[in-house]
Amino acid sequence: MRYLDEYRSPLAVAALAAGLHADRHVKLMEVCGGHTHAIYRHGIDTLLPGEIELVHGPGCPVCVIPMGRIDDAVSIAERPEVIFTSFGDMLRVPGGRRRSLLEAKARGADVRIVYSPLDALAIARENADREVVFFGVGFETTAPAVALTLQRARELDVRNFSVFCNHVLVAPALRAILDSPDTEIDGFIGPGHVSTVIGTRPYEFICSEYGRPVVVSGFEPTDILQAVAGLLAQLREGRAEVENEYGRVVRRKGNPAALAALEEVFTVRDDFEWRGLGAIPRSAYRIADAFGAWDAENRFEVPGARIEDPKACRCGDVLRGMAKPYECRVFGTACTPEKPLGTCMVSSEGACAAYYAYRRVA
């Protein structure tokens, strides 16, 4: 397809890879799980010289949702009046006692996969006698879609629809990683699609306060290699700036219409528990009071319990760039995409799922 194939040109990939070098060990974090998968699918890791190490960041929305929130979702889904709608990749995520939405469905809960939150709203309009709940999961990439769906629900006065909101924010998570004493990241490959919404300004603190460079990147092989080259050049020249390699869709100010929808429908929570990163202040959205009638947390009692991850699972370390998936004892044995223990093995954006699919086992 146009504007995809050109960025996969083997000749361009080879030329870019040949130009990469660093005179010391350099640790770069790709923030976004979409980048993690692109890197392994295209074998970009095998093209980099040994001194350049890529570590995987927290940008996998499914991965960072803690188990307690899965239990809350399951408890809503198990109510007889509820049709629980979700993106497909949340269904296999195990909660406490290893119960997932998929298992709840097998036991009789009405759990349905949707492509878009607007599809969930359509289900609500077709089922006036049922309560339809959408599992809102995702960064600022997905949150505007949910915001617009809630605006639409209010406009159409759809009263049997609500959202269980777990939308998280990318910048506070990056700050938590930068503040963590044991993570030494030299530079960041900035997320592409989330930046179409928020723009590149929210990353500027990484340069001004932490002195680390950021290059926002697209998802094709040449995009990622150009981003790596840009980071290495900044490090060599002692610069720390936000550069935008993905200018074909990312603008510095982001998408004003999407940002306005976020502003109207959501409020930032005081803090939110992230898997692996713990509670991070002002790192997630809740539904604003003006839309409180469509907030599933107002409408249903949820257990709201905090549940520790299984001891054997190292998702938390993987999400902070502290461990490679194959360093986890249960990787590929007790934890596989078919029967996952941790979220990083479930999601199509999870680092463990990428290592498993593309056989990076050592």
Partner: protein
């Protein structure tokens, strides 16, 4: 994008698969424009000039490598 539809929607061709998506966040998108779609919403329009500029850089990288 193939065509605008009522209610802030548009029909988009995804390399063969066609579906209607919301263009609420890209109100200026017109027939023939390339859009980036996520969960049924067009989040950005592709800036063809920027895309060509990146492709020119790639071309230069190839030329430099071939002549090295």
């Amino acid at each position: 994008m193939l065509e605008r539809l009522p209610d802030g929607l548009a029909r988009v061709d995804f390399g063969g698969v066609r579906r209607s998506v919301s263009v609420a966040f890209t109100p200026e998108a017109q027939q023939g424009d390339w859009v980036l779609v996520h969960v049924g919403f067009a989040l950005a329009m592709l800036d063809e000039e920027e895309a060509q500029a990146t492709l020119r850089l790639l071309g230069e990288a190839i030329d430099a490598e071939l002549s090295a």
